[in-house]
């Protein structure tokens, strides 16, 4: 694994920041918020590949997150499968489901694709709710064992933080690699013109399916980590509402930017925690921030930061020239 020099630098800085952060935080609660933020970031990096790069919308990714969590949780809690195996099976199973769903669904485009993925998400969510004997129904699946890797159980939040952070870093590195390749170019190409992509030999159906399955696999990975962290999975965490939140994270973070995806996920995970202090008006504030964010940062946090950097650098250069 060897990302480009620029990406390597970025990933290095990110890893350092990620590693140091828990030691700078005064409250353990923040660590657990960050862990949840990392789960979301893993999903959003994948979803951004699908939406930001390949231009295919999904309003059903909460379902893949849920499938990862439930399949792994049920295997481990109900059937006593070792956690590592349960997680792996869950990720593969979710990938296969995404593959099966993706074949007919990705033939649709635009709002029809949005509807179909939304419908899939709703169906899965209903199954989580109603298959009470398997899933525990609306009150949730309990007794999911903590994550164990190579015989070591990740008991402390700090160890879990590092495992999740590492998983996120890996997902980011893979995604960055993918974008600057034949595959990444094919995805971006079919985003703007499917016909022109086909004309140079890009099998667009296959590439759409590939990125759809990849993003589902990332979501399932996050789901597995989630289930074995909280020890609990409830349908409400994976429903339509969460799928929409993921979409918002992608767009507010910045379409077609891996860094933006991470920023968007962490920002929108932390925001409600900060707003909790405002009690009753937290929902109103959340909605308002979304609207204002989109109105004033149309290309998201990533685009806004890039613009700001350019402006600062520009000023710096002008200043330097004057001197």
């Amino acid at each position: 694994m060897a990302p480009t020099r620029k990406n390597l630098l970025g990933l290095g800085a990110w890893t350092l920041l990620m590693a140091l952060t828990p030691h700078l935080l005064t409250n353990d609660y923040y660590v657990s918020t960050l862990i949840i933020g990392f789960f979301n970031a893993i999903i959003v990096v994948g979803l951004n590949m699908l939406m930001g790069y390949a231009g295919q919308i999904s309003l059903g990714h909460g379902a893949f997150y849920g499938l990862g969590a439930y399949v792994s949780g049920i295997l481990a809690a109900t059937y006593g499968v070792p956690v590592e195996a349960a997680g792996l099976i869950a990720i593969i199973a979710t990938g296969l489901i995404a593959w099966g769903i993706g074949i007919p669904t990705l033939k649709l485009s635009g709002h029809y694709l949005a509807m179909a993925t939304l419908g899939f998400g709703v169906i899965v969510s209903i199954v989580f709710n109603e298959a009470v004997e398997t899933t525990g129904g609306p009150s949730g699946l309990t007794g999911i064992p903590r994550l164990t890797l190579f015989g070591i159980t990740m008991e402390s939040d700090l160890s879990y933080y590092y495992v999740t952070g590492l998983a996120l870093t890996l997902v980011m590195a893979l995604s960055l690699n993918l974008i600057q390749s034949r595959l990444g170019r094919a995805l971006r190409a079919l985003h703007t013109s499917e016909r022109a992509a086909e004309a140079v030999g890009v099998d667009i159906a296959r590439y759409k399916l590939f990125v759809f399955v990849l993003s589902a696999v990332f979501a399932a990975l996050a789901g597995v980590l989630y289930a074995h962290y909280l020890g609990f999975a409830a349908p409400s965490s994976f429903g339509f509402h969460f799928s929409v939140t993921l979409l918002v994270m992608v767009v507010l973070g910045g379409m077609a930017s891996v860094w933006g995806a991470v920023a968007g996920a962490l920002f929108l995970t932390a925001l409600p925690e900060f707003l909790r202090a405002f009690e009753n008006i937290e929902t109103v504030l959340f909605g308002g921030i979304l609207i204002l964010g989109m109105m004033f940062l149309p290309s998201g946090l990533a685009g806004g930061t890039a613009k700001l950097t350019r402006a600062l650098l520009g000023r710096f250069r002008v200043g330097a020239r004057r001197v």
Binding site: M51, I57, P104, T105, K107, L108, S109, H111, Y112, A114, M115, A116, L118, G119, F120, V122, I123, I126, V127, N129, E130, R195, F240, H241, V244, L247, V248, V251, L252, M255, N280, I281, E282, T283, V284, L285, F286, G287, G288, I289, L290, I291, G293, M294, M295, P298
Partner: protein
């Protein structure tokens, strides 16, 4: 399964479906004029019901309360377009979707702040004595729902085909630039589309509120069903949306009655998905006879 129960499912389905259809119609009107999928459409429906309840609770006579609710929601639609949509009219489609999602959260938050999280009921417009025939029973309110839905549909049809405003809005949907060149005020049309959508949605919400009760968060599910209705009918076709809503309602009602009430929504969505796989642009959508 006797005829009476079947008829009963049909009545229930059509009644609920009418509201889905009105919600879908709201989506279609805004989409046709501005190209935006308004995720806050369900909140307009919720506003209709909640504001109706509030006005009635404040002592306003029922018919007036209904009208007041629709008028207030219309105002909310105008306000939303003015403050959130117009300043960023040139934003990309997905950005506008996020803005409407933000608006829906905002509206829901405000309503929750004012009215709390309780469920409310609006009195039936003309009593609760069911009308019985052929072994089925029908609430008078169902007749109100169907009648008002039908009136709204006919009214909108003549509005879009006969009036200058209606035609102007249609022109915007075909080609906003050309419409602007023809002297049509595109941004005023956009505001009108939000107002009409809000009015139609709120009307649907307030007439259904006596049957299904209402709360600050009913808009989420109604919005979802409304979106499904207009996709099922073929996005951009107002009568497709209305028909789609009724089909959806009937499917749901029969699914609940004949198969499983727990899985009724799942059944509906499975059918919707299968249908989309066969007809990728909905039942009455334009085929993709695109020329290369």
């Amino acid at each position: 399964m006797d005829l009476g129960s079947l008829l009963q499912y049909l009545i229930t389905g059509v009644t609920v479906g009418a509201t889905y259809g009105l919600t879908g119609l709201g989506f279609t009107i805004i989409f046709n004029t501005t190209g935006i999928i308004n995720f806050a459409q369900g909140e307009f429906v919720m506003l209709g019901g909640m504001l109706g309840v509030a006005a009635h609770a404040a002592g306003v006579p029922l018919p007036l309360a209904v009208l007041l609710a629709v008028a207030a929601a219309t105002l909310a639609g105008a306000l939303m377009e003015r403050t959130f949509i117009r300043p960023v009219a040139k934003a990309s489609a997905v950005n506008l979707i996020i803005i409407t999602i933000g608006a829906s959260i905002l509206i829901r938050g405000v309503v929750m702040l004012i009215f709390g999280k309780d469920t409310f009921a609006l009195p039936h417009f003309s009593g609760m004595e069911p009308i019985r025939f052929l072994g089925a029973a029908m609430l008078p309110q169902s007749l109100w729902v169907l009648g008002i839905t039908l009136l709204l549909l006919l009214g909108l049809k003549s509005f879009f085909s006969r009036t200058m405003w209606g035609r102007g809005m249609l022109a915007c949907s075909y080609d906003p630039k050309a419409a602007a060149l023809m002297g049509i005020n595109v941004s005023r049309m956009a505001m009108a589309s939000f107002m009409i959508s809000a009015a139609v949605g709120a009307a649907g919400g307030v007439i259904l509120a006596p049957i299904t009760l209402t709360a600050y968060d009913v808009g989420i599910l109604l919005g979802l069903k409304g979106f499904a209705a207009c996709i099922l009918g073929g996005l951009g076709n107002p009568f497709g949306a209305a028909a789609g809503g009724i089909i959806l309602g009937v499917l749901e009602s029969f699914g609940a009655g004949l198969l499983s009430s727990a899985y009724k929504d799942a059944i509906t969505f499975v059918i919707l998905l299968l249908l989309l796989f066969v007809r990728p642009t909905g039942l009455f959508g334009k085929g993709s006879g695109e020329r290369v």
